[in-house]
Symmetry: C2
Amino acid sequence: MLSAQSARASPVQPAPCRSCCAPQFSICAAIPHDELVWIAAVAVPCDVKEGQSFMQEGERADHFFNVTEGTARLFKLLSDGRRQVVGFARAGHFLGIAHNDCYAVTAEAVDTVRLCRFPRAGIHGLMRRFPALQTRLLQSASDELVAAQELMVLLGRKNARERLASFLVGWAAGGPPGGPLAASEVLHLPMTRADIADYLGMTVETVSRTFARLKNEGILALHSPDELVVLRREALAAAAAGEA
Amino acid sequence: MLSAQSARASPVQPAPCRSCCAPQFSICAAIPHDELVWIAAVAVPCDVKEGQSFMQEGERADHFFNVTEGTARLFKLLSDGRRQVVGFARAGHFLGIAHNDCYAVTAEAVDTVRLCRFPRAGIHGLMRRFPALQTRLLQSASDELVAAQELMVLLGRKNARERLASFLVGWAAGGPPGGPLAASEVLHLPMTRADIADYLGMTVETVSRTFARLKNEGILALHSPDELVVLRREALAAAAAGEA
DNA sequence: CGTTGTGTTGATATTAATCAACAAGTGTGG
DNA sequence: CCACACTTGTTGATTAATATCAACACAACG
């Protein structure tokens, strides 16, 4: 759909990384059309299979990534194996924020992930030539920071029900990237209960019980572990905000 | 000391916001010397008294801020009053990240805070002219994001003792901005127990008890609520990492 | 000299973690 | 095609960590 859209907009583009250009975050959108050739030369589209990681916490940060399809989990580990999922990356998500030239988190494919990889090295020169690109990156980093702050509120101050409700609301909102909430209330959750638990700072058991509770309250219907229907959207939003 | 340093480097500078230029984050460092006049024209140094807020969550984001002295708490509130402190800003800290042109968090002075305020409006033109400035901002946003991710691990996966130890280690490290850990292990905590509790996702009682515990373990000595000595730095670091 | 705000400590309650059993789905090899 | 193991998710019983409720100490301040 996205590639169809850009194809429609300009059918004779130099076909650089058509597969890489997700609508909002993509670096391509910030670069003049004929300069995309540079990207074409260095961008490498990749497919990452379920469970495979393509970015490791602490590893030398040589590349940026732009997710174009699928879902990745981003997490950090403690030495004893405790895990905190700091976010899920879907189509359009830009990855590669680094600290001291090393990735700050590990990224692993939840399902089959398609992404576009390009070297950090060239990006600085490109940023100098196209400040719009840097603006885009700054925007992306700011958005992520805001999301991180919301997650902190969730982790520090919300109870199990509020956490799960918040997660579902956020996941639903992030569905069609940037677009309004889908008319249909059907949600597909590609990640496991363990992923959700590690994202929300809970255990799998509590996640499972909390799903059951929201179901008993008539707010959700669970078709299968990874397919659910939001029956009462307002009630879910209220639960997320802690108003119930 | 810092202003003395820059004064030494160029004693005849146009005296723009000498008070505003903290070493690492400051936007000034990214701008050619004689262009600082622009900053001089629009930068407003402010003093914010204890308890006063200078940035409100949800308010229109018209300014950036650069803390030069003192400590500010950054927090978000839930509708029922629950509070999550997402960070403390000290000298050098850059503030003003926005979401949809509104501030994402509230900033309040913990003690007397001195800061430099400048309009967002002009900054975009300035960024176009000086990409180094934008690089600086991007760097700042990235650093904050990494810090946010560490806090998520703390909030989602650490116990009370690990949380408090992590906080103290981080606070000590942030002491002399960018510099190595202070030789002295004396820490000054300008914020209240409630601030610490809301930062670590705990209650004041648990914070107090956990301080007492670290004291009983011979890791800390508490002179007064806001003055303590780290007696066994390695033990504190071990506690922070969850290795005990 | 009382009043108020902040911090500490004690007793009890509550949420969510842990431990445990089991159900359902998936893939493998006989 | 059917045991079989293995993974994932669910539910139940119990425990443990932290929140809550309550009392009090102490300093700052009018």
